[in-house]
């Protein structure tokens, strides 16, 4: 099945498997246009009596927040039916998005966490520590900006004082 979004977004969905386990291979982009039709496929797949659904993500190049929402909804719908949904082999930037949206539990256990976009960290990395590091870095950046403003202020005040001194000397 291929779903064409009205803005050109495209997601191809291929389903294969047996009575016990289904693999749903996605190709393309998962967003708020292609998400709803996929949700129907995922929930339909869970009603066939399988015990697990693997969603193969390797060929998905783009996922947005609405796309993550579809996957989380399907995961929870599965949990209610005793079906395990697992995302297999997503690209690193999509792993990053899943972590940021607190959806990392949809990943299979072997997936390595991704710290920054395009950056991979050691598998023992602690997501909380990463989050703290990132926020600290941002706070440092903001503090540095404030400091730059204050430095300019001080420079100008110094210059003004020197000017006044020079004028006093001349008198």
């Amino acid at each position: 099945m291929t779903y064409f979004g009205d803005g050109g977004a495209r997601l191809h969905v291929a389903v294969r498997g047996d009575a016990d386990q289904l693999t749903i291979t996605l190709t393309g982009e998962l967003d708020r246009v292609s998400g709803p039709p996929l949700a129907d496929v995922l929930v339909g797949a869970m009603d066939t009596g399988v015990r697990s659904v693997w969603v193969s993500m390797a060929q998905v190049g783009f996922v947005d927040v609405a796309g993550v929402r579809v996957l989380v909804d399907a995961y929870e719908a599965g949990a209610g039916r005793g079906v395990v949904l697992q995302l297999r082999d997503p690209q690193p930037h999509i792993v990053w998005l899943l972590q940021e949206t607190e959806a990392a539990h949809l990943l299979s256990a072997q997936a390595a966490p991704v710290r920054d976009l395009g950056r991979r960290i050691a598998p023992h990395g602690d997501a909380w520590a990463d989050e703290r590091d990132r926020l600290l870095r941002e706070r440092q950046q903001r503090t540095a900006e404030h400091q730059r403003w204050e430095d300019v202020r001080e420079d100008l005040a110094d210059a003004r004082e020197r000017d006044l001194d020079r004028r006093e000397d001349r008198r």
Binding site: G5, D6, G7, G8, A9, E29, D31, R32, V33, F62, D64, V65, A66, V68, R69, V72, H93, L97, E100, T101, E102, A103, R115, D116, L117, G118, R119, E131, R132, D133, R134, L135, R137, E138, R139, Q140, Q141, R142, E145, H146, R148, W149, V152, R153, D155, L156, A157
Partner: protein
Amino acid sequence: MALGGTEGKSGRMAGMPVVNGYVVSSNPRVTCVHEPTQAVTQVMVHGGWGHRLRDEVSWVLRACVAETPRVLLVDAARLDDPAGESAATWRIAARYAAESDPPISVIVCAAAGGLRRRLATGGVEQVPSMAAGLAAVARADDRAAVTHHVSLPAQHGVAALARTMAADTCVAFALPHLDYPARLIVSELVGNAVEHAGTNLDVWVSMRGAMVHLAVQDRSPALPPLLDARPGNVRAGGMGLRIVAATATAWGALPCAVGKVVWATLATRLRRVS
């Protein structure tokens, strides 16, 4: 004056604010109008100069500089400052903006009396009126800024078109590492505009110094909410903006003559991980 960087009260990282957001809303003392096509922001200051106004103005100027406009026009016509006590603030702002990357010009328009005299020395460009300021902006070279622009209707599918434009721009500037961040930011900003404003919208992707600048303008004046604590659930409202904040170097919102612009920047150099 509502500004980004409010402290989180609860959530998984309690006490850790989201600090790269610059949402500027206008109030009776400081009014902001951004013009995305020319990349110009006007800041109008009203009333008597004092500590409170000074603090507000310095915040707004810093937030405006973070957006990396080409020119920042300060309208002092309604500023009551006969002794010129605000001169120091405009001097600091001018130098702060000039030393930013990319450098930004600050022009003070329609300063009167003591303020005009005190600004005559000290490196702040002055023009007699806002009209003269706008004329100066129109004359100024565009610094060869490369901008891609597209106008889109309020349909969910248009996010795909907008993010393809963002991706093409990153590829054209040999910035493949910004491809996904740029697509994600544009997609979420366009999605928000379609969902919350529901008006026609304009998308700009441009190179500004060492920044890729992404902006989405819609016709609704309602500004996006400030990010407080981070919720632990993808269904919570505002997750799109939270992801924008987590992805961008800086982001924010500015009022426009019609509606508002929500912007985000991405530093072209990889951020240093300390």
